[in-house]
Symmetry: C2
Subunit: 154 residues, 2 copies
């Protein structure tokens, strides 16, 4: 009998995707984020730009703030951020400031991304902290959710 | 008799500098920010990274969030942000998302800035909103305050 080895990245991303779906139900751009430390979920968030209203209320910012509050520290060097969409420049900057160890994202974002596109924040010589970055985990699900959301807006 | 013409940029920056000084007294990196609309101060903030603790609690983010709350809108297209230090990539991204009309900053920041240095967020082809940017207003005072603060840390 073969047992598939568990994939913690996939599990955490599934949670981020579920948060994104909850965001879509609430009328927010469906992006979800999860902060994990040593296999434990520290915080979960989805975009809240419309509800708050607050242009900075991206899922990543909210998850980072919640994790900092929970852990009592501005820096989160033992934590991984899972997010369903490539972070924008603002969120990449927040990841740099919070010293997150890893970032795992879902869909690539050629128009709004700031990691592998646009400002490419972690590639700048002045960048003070470069997390390990993995893209494309849960990409298809995340992209489908975003596509469906933007189609209903038209 | 000669009356000096009032300089609203200088006045708003003086308020941002006063906020920065209050931040330094509280043990925070001395950066202050003010959001102004039609000559009226909408919000004032200084860095709160240490006190909260929250790596995203830069003066600009807090001032933008407070202005959005006060005006009931995520986008602030009629507002000017005054900040004593060149915004970092995170804060430049927040300014882009909030659609601020103008940004007036004090000291240039070759190491941490993301407007005229580093990620140069507003210069990217994918940038969705480019505010009018003025640098160097109140530069000497801001730089002196930052220098004094970092000297006491050594």
């Amino acid at each position: 009998m073969t047992t598939l080895s568990p994939n913690p990245d996939r599990n955490a991303m599934a949670l981020a995707l579920a948060a994104a779906a909850a965001g879509a139900d609430a009328g927010e751009t469906p992006v979800g984020a999860v902060v994990v430390r040593a296999g434990r979920v520290i915080s979960v968030a989805h975009n809240l730009v419309e509800a708050t209203p607050d242009a900075t209320a991206h899922a990543e910012i909210l998850a980072i703030r919640a994790a900092a509050r929970r852990l009592g520290a501005a820096r989160l060097p033992e934590c991984t951020l899972f997010v369903t969409l490539e972070p924008c420049a603002m969120c990449a900057g927040a990841i740099e400031h919070a010293r997150l160890k890893r970032v795992v994202f879902g869909a690539y974002d050629p128009k709004g991304g700031g990691v592998q596109h646009g400002a490419r924040v972690f590639e700048r010589l002045t960048c003070r902290h470069r997390p390990e970055v993995v893209g494309g985990v849960g990409e298809a699900q995340s992209a489908a959710m975003l596509r469906a959301f933007f189609q209903t807006l038209r």
